[in-house]
């Protein structure tokens, strides 16, 4: 069956046999040389001169604000650990340590099992040792065989700002976390790893690379001295992270927001630098450092304000009237509206089988586009929005970046919801919705949900006539968004004039946002967003211009009532602080990438 009769010349078998024999003679010869001939040399080496490579931690990079102020620093703490194999009686040792330092022996024992990897690796018993602890342990060193005290850099927050929602925090690597890390070489149990916020997003930058130190140890693994044969590899410290945050402004806004639940964010629309990033309520940034008492922890978890949630990038809210510029821009662009055209607002509007209300129950009287924006008239928008299709409207929303992530350099961001006809069909069925939804979305209600960060990007695009760049927290070259809103310069300028009227008109809803500083022009829009959780949410989005300097804000006060009354005054303080300090702040740091 199998064809090809096999005839192999004997010569080939001989060649192969010779190769095999030579290979094994080489190996056996080499092993003989090392094991028998040079045995004594290696014996001495193994007995007396054991070289052990020890990993050295690299200090994590610092996080600094735009003016070089340190926001997150490293602080040396002292860690008590033991080498299991060197301990004769673990229970007695723990009892003695507990007696000397007053540390709970149960706590020490728990740590021992938590950090234990093998008999030869240092196993952590306690950290954050006080100087009393260290001195008493040093005094009794002769009785405490097998323990060591080492320095460990802990995260430390030198300023008064919280900033925890963007700074994030680090976590200690435990067995569970380590199992999931792909690059295990860089993480030992008890090391720090970025767990949230910028600490997580920029982990590879901040972390640095571990170094190796070669030490000589005796037959029991005890340190004897240093080694000259191998060069130590020094740890490579992590890179510092320079943020666009202005610590001073951040502190101010955190203070102003402390009595509210909500968001206050400030940015430079031109390059996308975020100057302030406040989500309130917040918690101390060092909450996750060291041990948290269960009382503090349950307070945080049970706080109805949910301080752990970052409202800026992952809070979803109806935008209310602040979204009206989308409708206005779409209509102007498609020439579906004459800005001079006026209609009468009686306080309500009847469409289909229901009544749509204006916030001003007495009505605004004769309303044109300027007045509709300045005084935030809903009825005007109920009427004009009917000239648009849902697709046209949602398309404009998407140009402004709604319905997708803003691309901020943080790990968790939500996309929000911009209803399209596909969305509505999927949610309510093909015949389950009608043109009436346009009346709701026109004033930023209904199914529309946005994050405050998206609102900031939106107002930035208006402030720069569509030239704003992506929002970011770490100082870097501005990045272009994937889509930009495109309108004629005339249209942009018209909307801008109307937004200025919001702040400067006698009956403008945003008057409270005006800081009254010479040469500074403020434009903006208020919003009062109805929601199922009680009082409406108060919004203010806007920007201030002084020659070339522009700064934008987005303020949200949950259940704060009218935007003009609660949100706008906070914006005013942000403008005031910025323009009174602007000569120092913005001009200097715009250029140095």
């Amino acid at each position: 069956m199998l064809k090809a009769k096999n005839v192999i010349p004997k010569q080939r078998l001989i060649v192969f046999t010779i190769v095999v024999v030579i290979s094994f003679i080489t190996l056996i010869g080499r092993f003989f040389q090392i094991q028998v001939y040079q045995h004594n040399t290696y014996q001495t080496k193994a007995e007396a001169n054991r070289i052990k490579a020890v990993m050295r931690n690299a200090p994590r990079g610092l996080i600094i604000d735009r003016n070089g102020k340190i926001l997150v620093d490293n602080y040396p703490t002292y860690v008590l650990s033991c080498i299991p194999i060197e301990i004769e009686d673990k229970d007695a040792l723990i009892k003695l340590i507990s007696k000397l330092t007053g540390l709970d022996s149960l706590f020490l024992r728990q740590n021992y099992s938590k950090y234990y990897r093998n008999r030869f690796s240092p196993t952590r018993l306690a950290k954050d040792l006080s100087f009393q602890h260290i001195s008493v342990l040093e005094e009794h060193k002769s009785e405490l065989h097998g323990i060591q005290i080492t320095q460990f850099p802990e995260r430390y927050y030198p300023t008064q700002i919280s900033g925890t929602h963007f700074l994030g925090y680090v976590n200690e690597v435990n067995q569970n976390i380590r199992g999931k890390i792909s690059d295990k070489k860089q993480y030992e149990l008890g090391d720090l790893i970025g767990w949230h916020g910028l600490e997580k997003e920029y982990e590879s930058e901040l972390r640095g690379d571990k170094g190796v130190k070669y030490i000589e140890v005796d037959a029991f693994g005890r340190e004897v001295g240093n080694v000259d044969e191998y060069k130590d590899i020094p740890p490579n410290p992590g890179n510092n992270l320079k943020l666009t945050i202005d610590a001073k402004l951040q502190l101010l806004l955190e203070g102003l927001m402390s009595t509210y639940q909500g968001v206050a964010i400030v940015s430079n629309p031109k390059n996308g630098d975020i100057l302030s990033y406040v989500s309130s309520p917040s918690h101390a940034p060092d909450l996750f450092t060291g041990s948290v008492s269960s009382e503090t922890w349950s307070n945080i978890l049970n706080n109805p304000g949910r301080p752990l949630v970052d409202r800026v990038s992952s809070g979803l809210y109806p935008p209310g009237s602040t979204l009206k510029m989308i409708t206005a821009l779409s209509l102007l662009d498609k020439k579906l509206i004459d800005p001079k055209w006026a209609t009468t607002c009686t306080g309500s509007y009847f469409y289909g089988d229901r009544t749509f209300r204006c916030w001003n129950e007495n009505g605004h009287g004769e309303v044109d586009l300027r007045k509709a924006i300045a005084q935030s008239c809903n009825v005007y928008f109920y009427k004009v929005v009917q000239r648009l299709t849902l697709t046209e409207w949602s398309e404009t929303c998407k140009q402004f970046g709604f319905g997708k992530k803003t691309g901020i350099d943080l790990p968790m961001e939500k996309t929000g919801v911009i209803p399209t006809s596909d969305y509505m069909n999927a949610r309510y069925g093909r015949w389950g919705w009608s043109k009436g939804v346009m009346l709701n979305v026109a004033i930023g209600q209904g199914d529309v949900l946005v994050t405050p960060l998206q609102m900031l990007h939106y107002i930035n695009q208006i402030a720069t006539h569509g030239n704003a760049n992506l929002l970011h927290l770490v100082h870097k070259k501005p990045e272009e968004p994937s889509r930009r809103p495109v309108f004629s310069s005339k249209t942009w300028k018209r909307i801008e004039r109307y937004l200025t009227a919001v702040v400067y008109d006698n009956k403008g809803t945003g008057k409270a946002a005006n800081p009254n500083i010479k040469n500074v022009i403020i434009s903006g829009k208020t919003g009062t967003a109805e929601n199922p959780h009680g009082e409406p949410h108060a919004w203010f989005v806007g920007y201030g211009k002084k020659e070339n300097d522009i700064v934008s804000v987005a303020i949200l006060i949950e259940n704060g009532g009218h935007g003009g009354e609660t949100a706008a005054p906070i914006a005013r303080e942000a403008f005031r602080s910025h323009f009174n300090n602007s000569a120092l702040n913005i001009e200097t740091s715009n250029s140095d990438y």
């Binding site: 090809a4 078998l13 052990k52 008999r119 037959a219």
Partner: protein, 408 residues
């Protein structure tokens, strides 16, 4: 072609299986020692895992041993296609330990490249036995290299230089066995050596001399010989220029193939510690479980690549000798079977398998004593590693199945 299981067993040479069992036992014995100090759960230790993998290994052995041989012959190319797909599949999954070597099936990592090693041999043997007449032409040398290069390139990209080497070396031995001119094999390997030696003047000069001498004594046509020589020299001279024009990340990509990346502590450190372990073991060793180098964790990757260092330290030169004699016996026995076989296809498969075994044993052992740079290749039957153990047992099943030619 009558198939009878009883016949098969009665004619089976018991010597090779017995030796394989001895080697596996030595491996488990040493892994038990290593596992003692690794901490954690005993059932997840290298020893327990290896012990569990003995079962699929024996099943694999029996499976291959009892498959009628003509089926192996008929399906050589089909298996080859599956093997190529197999080594490519890990790219669809995620990085494991920085490589694409593994397929995860129900929590158990599975390394297709281990099986591809001997499946490739089947395909090569099939090609060479079907095209045996024109063996002295250079084209018959080029196609087998092509067959081998497809899986080799994929494995190289994983990156797994060790396995790639194991895939390419059998092509050489099988071609020689099939009757290719050694000169043709030399021509194919020459450019690689030209490139590798091009970084330093002295090796390159020596290489140029060897090249000239080999070409002179092989007496090819003058024009061919001269152009062959200068093409190689030119390639060697050009290589540093090409190298420098590469971007640094491209250079790094090539360098990582050759750079030992097993441990951040550095390869020199590994070799020193391995040699110290072996050397301090002496003639009879320090005793089982008594190796200080092993147990104080000076020895890196001791359960797989450096298991021989553990054996050297704890069980001494005498045990190393036993292991080498066992391997030498198996390999020479397979060669003898290949020579005696009156079927060309089976003969070539046997040569291929013996090459795989010899390469593994030589590269792994030579690495532990610093004869060659660190390469991540395990020692057959002894190193921890489930896929490799199963694959080795299947190879033994294969050679016992086709090796005994008295029945055909």
């Amino acid at each position: 072609m009558f198939f009878n299981a009883n016949n098969k067993i009665s004619e089976l040479s018991y010597k090779i299986p017995a030796i394989v069992i001895i080697l596996t036992a030595i491996g488990l014995f040493s892994l038990y020692s290593v596992s003692q100090h690794q901490g954690g759960d005993f059932f997840h230790s290298a020893f327990s895992k290896q012990l569990i993998f003995v079962i699929p290994s024996i099943i694999g052995f029996l499976l291959i041993f009892f498959i009628p041989r003509h089926i192996i012959h008929n399906y050589s190319y089909v298996l080859y296609v599956f093997a190529v797909i197999g080594v490519a599949i890990p790219y669809l999954g995620s990085h494991i330990a920085g490589t694409y070597r593994w397929i995860n099936i129900g929590g158990i990592g599975f390394q297709p490249s281990e099986f591809a090693k001997w499946i490739l041999i089947l395909a090569l043997a099939r090609y060479l036995s079907d095209h045996n007449i024109e063996m002295r032409r250079i084209t018959s040398v080029v196609i087998p290299f092509g067959i081998a290069l497809i899986p080799t390139a994929i494995v190289l990209k994983q990156p797994d230089l060790g396995s790639a080497v194991i895939m390419i070396v059998p092509v050489m031995t099988m071609l020689y066995w099939a009757g290719s001119r050694p000169f043709h094999l030399f021509i194919l390997v020459a450019p690689l050596l030209s490139v590798l030696t091009a970084f330093h003047t002295i090796p390159f000069t020596i290489w140029a001399f060897i090249l000239a001498i080999v070409i002179f004594f092989s007496r090819p046509r003058l024009l061919f010989g001269v152009s062959l020589f200068f093409t190689n020299i030119f390639l060697g001279l050009l290589w540093p220029v090409i190298w420098n024009s590469l971007r640094s990340y491209q250079q790094n990509r090539i360098l990582t193939l050759f750079k030992p990346d097993l441990d951040p502590l550095g390869a020199a450190y590994q070799i020193i510690q391995s040699k110290t372990a072996i050397g301090s073991g002496g003639f009879i060793g320090k005793g089982w479980g008594m190796g200080t180098q092993t147990h104080l964790k000076f020895l890196p990757v001791q359960e797989s690549d450096f298991i021989l260092s553990v054996i050297g330290e704890e069980l001494g030169f005498i045990s190393i000798m036993v292991i080498f004699l066992c391997f030498a016996y198996i390999i020479l026995k397979i060669l003898k079977m290949a020579y005696d076989s009156n079927d060309r296809y089976f003969s070539l498969v046997l040569v291929g398998v013996s090459t795989i075994l010899l390469s593994h044993v030589f590269v792994n052992s030579a690495m532990t004593v610093g004869l060659i740079p660190v390469k991540g290749l395990p020692l057959p039957f002894i190193s921890a590693g489930g896929s490799f153990l199963v694959s080795c047992y299947m190879m033994i099943g294969l050679i016992l199945n086709i090796g005994d030619t008295s029945r055909s």
